[in-house]
Symmetry: C2
Subunit: 382 residues, 2 copies
């Protein structure tokens, strides 16, 4: 096991009818900004529950945070916060709202130039506004980590950041808030969480970090067991609870402790979204089987372990069968797995490869995924 | 899944040569009290590493904390803290040193009468001195939770407490510090961690909290795979790392989220230790197979799941075979599993049953383990 240092101070409030508890978590006398997206929270009752819980606080609203949230949108929220003298943010929605809120919290307090530097240059976050959230979409794990991904619409760039100062103070996970979620988002969420685990599990590493492997497999087994049920029966509380909790654990940092991490699928996927606007999970469903195929020797032991433990695959051709099983699971969740399914081909591949070549990144846990390897990965996913 | 609320703010610093990092974690200018036990840390080099790391801090020492730490000992430390104006405690050792330190931290600041009330009456801890630790024995999980167990020698009482204010600020886990641990303590530690998981897993509950079950099974599989290896080769770094990390997870609170908990084995075991001085793990190894046998109908689904997932047992008599497999695993770890192995018989059973009858506790996840059931459990473990 590799050395590590890790803390995750997020308070989780999980279960039915728990939204009212936020009133006990936000410091008394705070001026609150409630951030949210396109208004689905007004249809499913979450908005009303949040507003009820905020009685007694002065609060303002900032809506219109888009999927793959824009830097430009975030900066409008920063201006509102400064104008109103806000001192606590409450994010209500999915991972995009929460990612945006993390960046808004950091950008509000940033003193070292343009806050874009946090994303573009990894400039250090020295202070951030405190925030909590009511998460309504199990997918990104953002509710229990300190990272976020922001897109600059102007330049078609999608970049990640994180800081010890951008953990939520609390996250409310009420599985009933997911009942009204569109099927496409449920499918996307399961794929996203699945791939989060793979980025931390499916590496050259095998056998020297047993507990992390078992935990990773437990998360994936939960997603594979419950994902299809969630599509069929949107109001099965146990199914939604298990999915929500598994998605949180897929990216709360604990399964990454002491092990190598990949993240090539995400880095390639981010560029596809930035250029062509595909859903985040759609890009992951395209890229992961390609990464597994091209890197199958380096990752052979872990692919075999995944096959055996999660899909019950053993014996001849176990690696190829496991890659196929992953692809079929994504398709079962309603997420297409080839570039052509989204009308993309060679031209798109060129654009993504050239952008990653410009960045000069060598991706993957062995830093051996150079532009020509990315081309190979994408070419077999046409 | 049941509703829950959970936070675990402990910073984990894990790996080889990490003890020096405590200097960055203790607030500058702190007056530190280093607490430890019988002096084994002086033999294995941990004491020297801690003292080196504390250069630049004013620090004092309090040694002699015994296994099953005594209230009386803790109160001596409280007096020293007040005399010296200590404002940070560094615990160095195993779970007993850390449990004692948690109680010392709370008792120092207790203003509502005799600090014994924290244990005897569950009096609320309103303030506690901050503390961190270097844990040298994987077993109790105390390094990542807020609970402790203290014994009053005078009255032969062993009682537990916990408070949100008694989480360590940091815990250093360097697996190499465990190389010199006596075989008996390694065996005890594995049994202790195993039973911690069972208290949170082996209940009537099955199927509605998938991830927690998989995580619990992952911890137990790690203990079962690595425990025997640790006895054979004390300096296998990966084995010791896996054991240390699994022991921490056995009782850091996350696998208990949203599920019922038992703890009957611990409550009965505490009384055996309080009266007869057996090691904590020895009492658990005696009692757990008895609890499993007497409660086998209530716990049948989970016992079968444990048998299948951890020991590969299926088919006819799976329950009886699984209980036997647990007993054999404890014996393999060098921990005897019957009262008679420790020279105890009917008289001891009477004493324990009478004490628990006096307390009026109904134990177990269904509160159905009354004194006559405790007698049944202990009688089959003679």
């Amino acid at each position: 096991m590799e050395n590590f240092s890790m803390v995750n101070p997020v308070k989780i409030i999980f279960g039915k009818d728990t939204i009212a508890q936020i009133a006990n978590e936000i410091p008394q006398g705070s001026k609150v900004l409630m951030t949210y997206g396109g208004g689905s929270i007004k249809k499913n009752g979450v908005y009303d529950q949040a507003v009820n819980a905020l009685k007694g606080f002065e609060f303002h609203e900032f809506s219109g945070i888009e999927p793959n949230p824009h830097y430009e949108t975030c900066m409008k929220a920063v201006a509102l916060i400064k104008e109103k003298g806000i001192d606590f943010i409450l994010a209500v929605g999915g991972g995009s709202v929460l990612d945006a809120t993390k960046f808004i919290a950091a950008a509000t307090c940033f003193q070292d130039g343009d806050p874009w530097l946090i994303l573009a240059k990894g400039a250090k976050v020295k202070k951030a506004l405190p925030f909590g959230d009511i998460i309504t979409l199990p997918a990104t794990g953002s509710e229990m980590n300190s990272g976020g991904v922001i897109t600059r619409a102007e330049t078609q760039e999608k970049l990640a950041f994180s800081s010890p100062l951008t953990f939520p103070k609390f996250s409310v996970l009420d599985p009933t808030t997911t009942y009204s979620m569109p099927v496409r988002q449920i499918g996307n969420g399961v794929v996203d969480a699945f791939v989060h685990v793979m980025e931390q599990y499916l590496t050259y590493n095998e056998g020297d970090s047993l507990l992390q492997d078992y935990m990773a497999e437990g998360i994936v087994k939960t997603l594979v067991a419950e994902g299809p049920k969630a599509l069929k029966d949107p109001t099965d509380y146990d199914v939604r609870s298990n999915l929500m909790w598994a998605s949180t654990w897929a990216l709360n940092g604990w399964i990454a402790c002491g092990v190598p991490e990949d993240w090539a699928t995400h880095m390639i996927g981010h560029e596809i979204t930035a250029f062509f606007g595909l859903d985040h999970a759609q890009t992951l469903a395209i890229v992961l089987p390609g990464v597994m195929t091209v890197l199958k020797e380096q990752k052979s032991k872990k692919i075999q372990r995944l096959g055996k433990e999660v899909f019950g695959i053993e014996g001849a051709d176990a690696i190829a069968k496991t890659i196929k099983a992953v692809e079929l699971f994504f398709e079962e969740m309603g997420v297409k797995t080839h570039l052509s399914d989204y009308g993309l081909g060679d031209e798109a591949i060129d654009k993504v490869v050239n952008r990653l070549a410009e960045r000069g990144w060598k991706l993957g846990e062995c830093h051996n995924i150079a532009p020509e390897v990315i081309r190979e990965i994408l070419t077999i996913r046409k």
